[in-house]
């Protein structure tokens, strides 16, 4: 896709000449686009189009498994995060991720949120308490759990657990947060709460949201990227994508003609 960076604001992330290989298989081809700061970008596309693959590049989750290869550059601010010299732990501090299934650790609610903080070396009890409280408040979960912070987190409902995971991710003050189909397994009310959360959080951080739910992309995102077979077909403001997409493949997908 030709390089386009027509966003109306400060740039946070830039993807340049990016290819990704699973072993010998080219999974993402020639991606070139940029993401505005403090906004939500939705990644849409049919199954297997590469949206999750792309999302997991931003915090280099692919490094956990052998035989994966990145080509090209991904800049967050002005640092190329694909540089082998990059400290992954530091990167994952700046770029957080919320997964499809809620993944509460088998420890208390407090311990869950404090997990990332302790990794950063924060030991002071007061500081931990304050940050945990703030994170839970920002994740709209504080009121529901403030009286049982020492109880096991896995006893929370699915929607609560997912908000816990969000609180856990934002406790370390990331700049970018990636949601990988995070509401796919939740009921409509929990989904709605989390969508509201995403919009609120996007005032302070940049959010990339993978979703197969077009209505969700329409509800929360400012920009949308449509992927098909690992290629970026169209990238534009969401309202334009959904009322008058330029590419026929985008139009067919959005109108439900396939995928």
């Amino acid at each position: 896709m030709k390089y386009i960076c027509k966003i109306d604001g400060k740039q946070k992330i830039e993807v340049r000449n990016f290819n990704f290989y699973y072993g010998n298989k080219l999974a993402l081809k020639d991606l070139n686009f940029c993401i505005k700061e403090n906004t939500i970008v939705a990644l849409i596309g049919p199954s297997g189009s590469g949206k999750t693959t792309l999302a997991r590049c931003f915090n280099r989750m692919h490094d956990l498994y052998p035989n994966n290869r990145y080509e090209g550059e991904i800049f967050i601010d002005n640092t190329n995060i694909l540089d082998p010299k990059i400290d992954l732990i530091e990167l994952r501090d700046r770029v957080g991720m919320v997964f499809q299934k809620p993944t509460a650790f088998p420890m208390s609610i407090f311990e869950n949120i404090a997990f990332g903080l302790k990794l950063k070396g924060i030991k002071n009890k007061t500081e931990l308490k304050d940050k945990v409280e703030k994170a839970l408040k920002d994740a709209a979960l504080w009121d529901e759990v403030k009286d049982r912070l020492d109880k096991l987190a896995t006893n929370l409902s699915g929607g609560q657990q997912q908000r816990l995971c969000i609180a856990r991710a934002i406790a370390v003050d990331p700049e970018v947060l990636v949601f990988d189909e995070s509401t796919a397994s939740l009921d409509p009310i929990s989904t709605s709460k989390i969508e509201d959360l995403m919009v609120e959080l996007s005032k302070k951080l940049t959010i990339i949201a993978v979703t197969h739910n077009l209505q969700q992309a329409a509800r929360v995102s400012e920009y949308t990227l449509f992927l098909l077979d690992g290629e970026a077909i169209e990238y534009d403001k969401t309202n334009i994508m959904f009322t008058n997409p330029k590419d026929k493949k985008t139009q067919d997908y959005i109108m439900g003609r396939f995928g």
């Binding site: 997964f99 299934k101 650790f105 420890m107 990332g116 990794l119």
Partner: protein
């Protein structure tokens, strides 16, 4: 429709009958044990040492303590090794060729007759050391334990969903934290069960001890000296000529059986408690 019902009924009946047959024999053994040996279990069994052959009285104190020492040291040797081995397989080796080889060998080793392990340790430890010893006994039991522990731990850890690991990595956790603070915690129920079951497995072993820690009439707990163990003593006394020995053997049998039962129940209770929480 009727045919299905009949088949169902037959199948159910056969299963139930088989279960009862199994249970029946188990209960028979336990009841016989209790019947035969209960009145021989008294305080002196636990507090007195063995007396000269032929004399009345005597106890199993030394044998019991010896058993505890050998099993204890074996656990200290075998359990950490097994756990670390299991962690290696599940978290580091994963699906590599080497890991799968280890898994297969380990699985095979769980079925090796324990007497062979005994002979193996005899050749490798007892002979060079010049004599039977607690150490040799513990090593033999540890070698029995390790394959079981490795296998079970490997399987337990592999059951932990990968998303949990990824979530920890995504927060910037280094590998050892992911393993010990997240994965292990998630599998803790299984891990503790495995430990308890492994101990209960070696608690009843006799054959390997025959070749390694042998037996001893002198109360000594030194690592490089032979020691009396409950299982070997029971074997000894049961085969001996004296009635007092036979009584003690029955008592030993009861103590052993119920110890093993206890460990099994403890393991189950633990998982039940943890699960409820």
């Amino acid at each position: 429709m009727r045919k299905r019902k009949i088949k169902n009924y037959i199948g159910l009946s056969i299963s139930t009958i088989s279960a009862f047959i199994g249970l029946f024999f188990l209960l028979w053994i336990i009841v016989s044990l209790i019947e035969k040996g209960f009145h021989y279990v008294n305080w002196s069994v636990f507090t007195q040492n063995a007396v000269s052959p032929g004399e009345e009285g005597g106890g199993l104190k030394f044998a019991i303590l010896g058993q505890l020492e050998v099993v204890g040291i074996a656990s200290l040797l075998g359990i950490p090794t097994g756990i670390l081995g299991g962690i290696y397989l599940s978290e580091y080796g994963k699906d590599s060729f080497l890991s799968n080889v280890i898994r297969n060998v380990s699985d095979a080793m769980t079925s090796i007759p324990s007497i062979i392990i005994g002979i193996f340790v005899y050749a490798l430890v007892v002979v060079p050391m010049g004599g039977f010893s607690v150490l040799a006994g513990s090593i033999a039991l540890a070698l029995l334990m390790i394959p079981i522990v490795i296998s079970s731990i490997d399987n337990m850890l592999r059951l932990v969903p990968n998303e949990l690991r990824e979530a920890a990595y995504a927060l910037g956790a280094p590998k050892y934290i992911v393993i010990f603070k997240v994965v292990a915690k998630e599998a803790i129920v299984g891990i503790v069960s495995v430990i308890l079951l492994a101990i209960s497995r070696i608690l009843g072993e006799t054959a390997p001890l025959l070749f390694t820690s042998f037996n001893s009439n002198f109360e000594s707990y030194k690592l490089n000296k032979p020691i009396a163990t409950l299982t070997v003593t029971m074997y000894d006394y049961a085969m001996g000529p004296y009635d007092s020995w036979h009584h003690l053997a029955w008592a030993a049998a009861i103590i052993l059986t119920f110890s093993v039962l206890l460990f099994n129940i403890a393991s189950r209770l633990f998982s039940y408690w943890r699960f409820r929480r």
